[in-house]
Amino acid sequence: MIWVIIAVLCVATVVLKASGPLALGTREPNERALRVISLVAPAVLTGLIVYETLITSDGGVVFDERLIGLAAAAVAIALRAPMAVVIVVAVGATAGVRALL
């Protein structure tokens, strides 16, 4: 069964990633399309942050230690910490609170 899951997801990934070129070809975007395109990255990133911070392995929603890690990362970013520090702070806060609770 696992091999069927892997095969289907592999083929589907190729098709989904190819969807833009297959539909649009070499067409040039107009000004409005460019404005929408320029906003796709922040929109997807926001969705991923919310999703990966709150999702449980069975598809539910939970406010847990990951949210503390994200808040700690936000503080580190506001203090202009370098990337490595931001990540260590997020991981440390999450693991720390988890160990305490």
């Binding site: 320029s38 906003l39 929109a43 926001t46 440390g92």
Partner: protein
């Protein structure tokens, strides 16, 4: 596009910051997947599917004793976000329809954002180069998790699941250049949060991507 793209070889360097976070998440996927999928399948999956979101979604279903079909649906829904991302990068790719479809296989979340110039164009060399680096890190991390995972029974105790939200937040801060982007963030967060309560996995992320449509207004 008027701006020159970075050659893919130089683009590899832009992927270097992704190595440690991606490998760490790969390790935790390998550790968590091994009891469910065996030793070989998690590594093959990381090479062929190469989507943390889809792989963790499918694994979550299997862990909860869900069916294979449900696992496939969860993985597929998680990967529907490639569609708006693929449409967004298409004009920045080179060659004809099929060549662009092949180049679009280099779309992955973080490289897509790193390549975003903010004017509606993407640096294709940065995207493909960073994806090659991230793909290798993901596969090798998964392999390490499967091989040495017994020493690390519970990856969540290390807080590894906090890495990507923090990393994405860093990228997002760079992406927000003005009021329009800020509005997108607020709308996308509200959409994702609302849909997470009742929609299946993955749907909240694709719904969040619809926030980009405010760009249709002047």
């Amino acid at each position: 596009m008027t701006v020159m793209d970075t050659p893919i070889r130089d683009g590899l360097r832009s992927g270097l910051p992704l190595v440690i976070p991606t490998a760490a998440l790969g390790v935790s996927f390998g550790v968590l997947a091994k009891p469910i999928m065996g030793a070989v399948a998690p590594v093959v999956m990381s090479v062929l599917v190469f989507s943390g979101g889809a792989q963790f979604a499918a694994l979550g279903v299997l862990q909860a004793s869900g069916t294979g079909a449900t696992a496939i649906v969860a993985g597929l829904l998680m990967n529907t976000r490639w569609v708006p991302m693929s449409f967004a990068v298409t004009p920045s790719l080179t060659g004809g329809r099929l060549r662009r479809a092949a180049e679009a296989q280099g779309i992955v979340d973080a490289p897509f954002v790193l390549a975003d110039r903010g004017d509606g164009s993407f640096d294709r060399g940065v995207m493909i180069g960073a994806t090659l680096v991230q793909g290798a890190s993901w596969a090798l991390g998964t392999l390490a998790g499967v091989l040495f995972g017994d020493a690390l029974r519970d990856p969540s105790a290390l807080g590894l699941d906090a890495i990507f939200p923090a990393f994405y937040l860093l990228l997002l801060v760079e992406e927000v250049r003005g009021h329009r982007e800020l509005a997108v963030v607020v709308i996308a967060a509200a959409l994702a949060l609302t849909l997470m309560v009742f929609a299946p996995p993955g749907v909240p992320v694709i719904a969040a991507s619809a926030a980009a449509l405010i760009g249709l207004r002047r």
